[in-house]
């Protein structure tokens, strides 16, 4: 029963900011990495994937939050999955209608948003216990945090691997592309490097706090 308990600490700015910085899904929680690594070969792909996930996240969290008192506890996961799958199908058809080339570039990974741990995790951990407005704000923050993470990865890989950003050449003809960065191993390396940077910064600030 404790699951249905509402957290009554109200809406703060932190509800929104949490997902962007302190609990960033990509860099801090390392969730939902399958689409993260697979589509981030270019900044454009990364951005569209981020926005698609953002849309699914916000709309399913809104719906989950609205029906949170109607769904029996035993079948809640199945219900959430069906809700998420519905919105993903919607996004899939929308992208197909708007830009066919983008649809072909992202391929099956749009449909794989269904199994993105972030979406189900937010629905279960936050939206099912909070009123709609708060749930949407939190989902919005998470989605934006996810998009930022994807964009950081996508931009790094595109700059290093192709010498471009959003398709514009940055370094002219003399640039020798670091091809491995747009290949699968590059995805692991770039994410590893970003995590390394974050953990380095964290340990620096902890040391600073001890000395200060």
């Amino acid at each position: 029963m404790s699951l249905k308990k509402e957290t009554d600490d109200g809406i703060t700015f932190d509800t929104f900011m949490e997902g962007i910085w302190r609990q960033n899904p990509v860099f801090v929680m390392v969730l939902g990495m399958c689409p993260t690594l697979a589509v981030t070969v270019s900044a454009v792909n990364a951005l569209s994937m981020g926005i698609a996930t953002l849309f699914v996240l916000v709309s399913s969290c809104l719906l989950v939050s609205l029906i949170r008192n109607l769904v029996p506890k035993e079948v809640r996961i199945a219900t959430y999955i069906v809700i998420i799958a519905t919105f993903v199908t919607l996004v899939d058809y929308i992208i197909q209608a708007v830009s066919l080339s983008l649809y072909e570039a992202l391929g099956a990974f749009i449909q794989l948003i269904v199994v993105n741990c972030i979406v189900l995790g937010r629905a279960e951990a936050h939206a099912s216990r909070n009123p709609p407005l708060k749930a949407v704000l939190n989902a919005l923050g998470m989605g934006i945090g996810f998009t930022i993470g994807l964009l950081a990865l996508g931009a790094t890989r595109e700059i290093l691997g192709a010498g471009k950003l959003f398709g514009f050449s940055l370094f002219g003809d003399h640039f020798q592309p670091w091809v491995v960065m747009v290949l699968p191993p590059g995805g692991f390396f770039v994410l590893g490097a970003w995590l390394l940077l974050f953990s380095f910064m964290r340990s620096r600030s902890e040391k600073g706090a001890q000395h200060g």
Binding site: V30, L31, M33, C34, P35, T36, L37, A38, A78, I81, V82, A85, T86, V88, T89, D92, Y93, G107, A108, Q111, L112, V114, V115, N116, C117, L120, V180, L183, P184, P185, G186, G187, F188, F189, L191, G192, A193, L195, L196, S199, F200, S203
Partner: protein
Amino acid sequence: MGESLSQIFIGALLTNNFVLAMFLGLCPFLGVSGRLGTALPMGLATGFVMLVASICAYALNLVLSAFHLDFLRLISYIVVIASSVQLVEMVMKKYSPTLFRAMGIYLPLITTNCAILGVALFQTARDYDFPQSLAFSTGAGAGFTLALVLMASLRERLQLANVPTVVQGTALSLILAGLLSLTFMGFAGLGGGE
């Protein structure tokens, strides 16, 4: 189309390994690969679910396309996968409770394993017929197990090594996975893939 069964199998196993080349199923790959003892059964369980899901998805796809209900595909796949995971979970709880406890949360999480939905979606997208789907899903399952076992062995070794504190944890695993993925790229061209 026109690919032979062995080409599809080797493609899914090595050249386009689900974990290392297509980034599917990374959560269990990084979560369970700490010890060899849990990595192998986890790989096998996932492989089994993949096979079941692939057969069900093939049958479902026939029905759905017959009635022009393509938009229901994603939802029905997910439901099928969730029920087969439930099945595996029940069997494992009955016959090997220790293993069941060792896998913990990662067993129900097979449901949200992208690799399994990936198998179902890719075989539909590529119009594989029934034998081809079987070859594809067994190859994918074997490839997932292979990657998991390799990674677990590497990480067991790494525990004995002296690594700087900053690098420890996920960052190290990711860079390790990158190196593993780099070696798997050496298989490119095998089996007459792209």
